[in-house]
């Protein structure tokens, strides 16, 4: 009881809800969900998505909150309390969260870089820079696009492959330092400071999204994108990848398995009604995804229409110049008609145009589905530079990205700090502030590795392999532990103790039956996919061609991937083994002592 009294608490339940919302609503809602929507049949994707939310997302979210609130400890302590042999689950969560902390803040560093560069009269990614003798533009930029050049060359100064290392990019390092300082500022006083910060980080992104929605739908051509997104292609539902991606998206979007939810809930009052909160947060998270994809698709529509019309304009000029027609004979509307006409009337001259005549296709422009950092930093910046008053929109957009990223970072860091501060030997020797500072400093120093010239390739590696597989394994073990090892009956009693009413059958069926089955299916799918995928590959930026090429990872990088996967997963069996040995030594030690007193 004394320990409960000393534990910090949220000022009110609203802070807890906002903290969960701020953590769950992150960059994935903005850059992964719209991509999945586009890949898997537009509006039709909502069916598997919402189904997986109900079958998998909400019950697991509920379970993690229940554990945190009941045990009132971070993930390591909580799982050790549930079953001493499975304390490794908590440790695995901490290791995975640590990996996430290392690379996730680099995204915030990039957002800062872009934000600071938005305060210029011409956005630096709007035009190619001029080359040294002022005759034209820099070659690499000419071959790629200005936005790609700005991202790959000026932001990252990326090397040709993961093997080519380089120095640290000073600008990136400074931005990363700033990002970590802000994280420290937000967590320095524990939940007291975090609780106040989440009021802002959880709500302001919505304000920006609404502003962007209004701006987006009023842009010329945005309706093409929204129509494209919502036209359901029902045949995609027959594709099993659609269902798997829906399940994975729900799973990772809610942030299950990292230990953040357990950490947040551990600061709750014992009788907090987390059942209602779990449902509310999950619903908010999914609605935000759908809302964000409307915004993204209206921007896509604008960008695609802009590019299509630019293409038509270029073709029009080409025709005018080659055939020396008066300027107003060809307009954007009848370009296609004139192409056919001129081909018929002047075939030899038409063929001399050769490869210079582009085919302009709106569908093809809309079809270019991009996700991840490519969407956020390349596609979106390209759309923004064409908007009127682009600096304002750029600033707003990157502030939104920062808030989404920072909100998620808070959850990640708290997931690492809470279990560490619960450990007796740490809390005895240092205060929370020192511990927080040390963790931030440690992550900053290691994170500097991602600001080197090959840093982006390591970033992609961490992003693809650092958390995906281990999380599935962790959550699977979590669910099996709670339902079968700890026992669903005991869990039911704990929940009744906290909430005052029993678990209704929805939770019981989902937690004990449906969710484990779905998780096992996902797990098997991942393993099969990984084995079938052959050598893991990555996209390397080739400066001569001005585009990314698929390259295989070198052997040491592949070994590192294996290490990433194994290091978190192995915690579980290794801790179980360690606890078993310790218990056996203790038991045999007791036996020896009893023997010695008898003989004495």
């Amino acid at each position: 009881m004394g320990k409960d009294a000393a534990r910090a608490e949220w000022d009110n339940p609203m802070q807890f809800v906002l903290a969960c919302v701020s953590y769950a609503v992150g960059l994935g809602n903005v850059w992964r969900f719209p991509y999945l929507c586009q890949m898997h049949g537009g509006g039709g994707f909502l069916i598997p998505y919402l189904l997986m939310l109900v079958l998998l997302g909400v019950p697991l979210f509920y379970m993690e909150l229940a554990i945190g609130q009941k045990m009132r400890l971070g993930s390591i302590g909580a799982w050790r309390a549930i079953n001493p042999y499975l304390g490794g689950v908590g440790l695995a969560s901490v290791v995975t969260s640590m990996y996430l902390c290392l690379y996730y803040n680099v995204i915030n560093a990039w957002s800062f870089w872009y934000l600071f560069h938005s305060f210029q009269s011409i956005l630096p990614w709007a035009e190619c820079p001029v080359n040294s003798n002022l005759t034209g533009h820099v070659e690499e930029c000419e071959r790629a696009t200005p936005t790609q050049y700005f991202f790959y060359r000026e932001t990252l100064d990326i090397s040709g492959s993961i093997e080519e290392n380089g120095g640290i990019h000073m600008g990136q390092a400074l931005c990363l330092l700033l990002a970590w300082m802000i994280v420290y500022l937000f967590i320095v006083k524990g939940v007291k400071s975090t609780g106040k910060v989440v009021y802002f980080t959880a709500t302001f992104p919505y304000l920006v999204l609404i502003i962007y929605l209004i701006r987006g739908v009023t842009l010329h051509g945005s309706i093409n994108g929204v129509k494209y997104m919502f036209t359901p292609k029902m045949e995609q539902l027959a594709n099993p990848t659609t269902w798997i991606n829906a399940a994975t998206q729900i799973f990772f979007s809610l942030g299950l398995g990292f230990g953040s939810l357990i950490a947040f809930a551990s600061y709750n009052q014992y009788n907090n009604n987390f059942e209602k909160q779990a449902i509310v947060v999950s619903m908010v998270n999914s609605s935000t995804s759908i809302f964000a994809s409307i915004v993204t698709f209206s921007i896509y529509g604008f960008k695609a229409t802009f590019n299509y019309e630019s293409c038509l304009e270029r073709v029009r000029l080409l025709l005018l110049n080659t055939f020396d027609l008066a300027e107003d004979t060809i307009s954007l509307e009848n370009v296609i008609h004139w192409i056919a006409e001129l081909n018929r009337t002047h075939p030899e001259q038409f063929t001399s145009l050769g490869g210079r005549l582009e085919t302009c296709d709106l569908e093809a422009e809309l079809d270019t589905a991009v996700e991840g950092t490519g969407l956020a930093f390349i596609v979106y910046s390209e759309a923004i530079k064409n908007m009127p008053v682009s600096q304002l929109w750029s600033v707003l957009y990157f502030i939104m990205l920062l808030l989404l990223g920072m909100g998620s970072m808070l959850g990640n860091v708290i997931a690492v700090i809470t279990p560490l501060s619960d450990l007796k030997f740490i809390s005895r020797y240092m205060s929370t502030k020192t511990l927080n500072g040390l963790v931030c400093l440690f992550c900053l120093l290691l994170g500097l590795g991602f600001t080197t010239r090959s840093g982006n390739y390591w970033f992609t590696m961490f992003n693809d392999y650092g958390a995906t597989f281990s999380l599935l394994f962790i959550v699977l073990i979590e669910v099996i532990t709670v339902c079968y090892i700890y026992g669903i009956k005991r869990f039911e009693k704990d929940v009744e103790d906290m909430l005052g009413h029993r678990l209704n059958c929805y939770w019981k069926i989902m937690l004990a039956g449906v969710s484990p089955i779905l998780l096992i299916a996902l797990f098997i799918f991942y393993i099969v996919n990984y084995i079938q995928g052959g050598t893991p590959t990555y996209q390397a930026w080739n400066k001569e061609l001005g585009k990314s090429v698929v390259t295989e990872y070198p052997p040491y990088a592949q070994a590192f991937i294996g290490l990433l996967l194994a290091s978190s997963v192995c915690c579980i069996p290794l801790t179980a083994l360690y606890t078993y040995c310790k218990k056996r030594n203790l038991a045999s030690g007791k036996r020896e002592r009893t023997v010695s007193t008898v003989s004495a």
Partner: protein
């Protein structure tokens, strides 16, 4: 309608896009405008060679199309059968490009001399990149925030240690209230039953 590709080693093709540049305010391209062009080119030649002898007749125009494009060659003022070499014409045009553009209310893009590429504007390199300035402001604010929070919590701790001797009781009561055997208490805690009574009243 179709232009033949001229074999004019010393001539340049000029292309003018009036509608693109001026839209509604586009003026009509007629013979007077062509005369103006000849005059402008003569001016450019005079300016470059610093010879006052160039005249409108030295600029010969041909193959005019409705695109508004035409070829021109420049003859020497001393000998009208001799053509000024391409390189010299290019230098003259480059020198006065800005004046020529402005004369016609056009730009490098809408008044094109095919083969003479416009020199791009030199990049403006400020002493401190603007992003560093914004960065400096933000990181300064964050530093101030962190230091303020650390100092305020230090002061609070010192104040608490001073105040601990007086209101130690209140704190313990507050924390124990409401959590007793896991059942939520709604009433106020009766201090009369506190376990440790630090100050016995005499």
């Amino acid at each position: 309608m179709v232009s033949k590709t001229l074999n004019a080693p010393n001539g340049y093709k000029v292309r003018i896009s009036l509608k693109t540049a001026l839209g509604e305010d586009a003026y009509e391209w007629n013979q007077s405008e062509m005369f103006f062009f000849q005059a402008t080119m003569a001016f450019a030649m005079r300016r470059h060679f610093q010879m006052e002898t160039y005249n409108v007749d030295n600029i010969i125009l041909c193959v005019q199309t409705s695109r508004v494009s035409f070829w021109f060659v420049v003859t020497s003022p001393d000998n009208t059968t001799m053509l000024i070499p391409k390189a010299d014409v290019e230098k003259a045009v480059r020198m006065s490009r800005h004046r020529i553009n402005n004369a016609f209310l056009l730009s490098d893009r809408t008044l094109e001399f095919l083969g003479i590429y416009p020199t791009l504007a030199a990049p403006v390199n400020p002493d401190t990149p603007p992003w560093l300035i914004v960065f400096g402001v933000v990181i300064g604010a964050v530093c101030v925030g962190i230091i303020a929070l650390l100092i305020s919590s230090l002061l609070q701790k010192r104040r608490k240690e001073k105040g601990m001797t007086e209101d130690g009781q209140d704190e313990e009561d507050m924390q124990v209230k409401g959590v007793e055997n896991g059942i939520n208490l709604d009433g106020t805690y009766n201090r009369g039953f506190t376990d440790d009574d630090r100050f016995t009243k005499l």
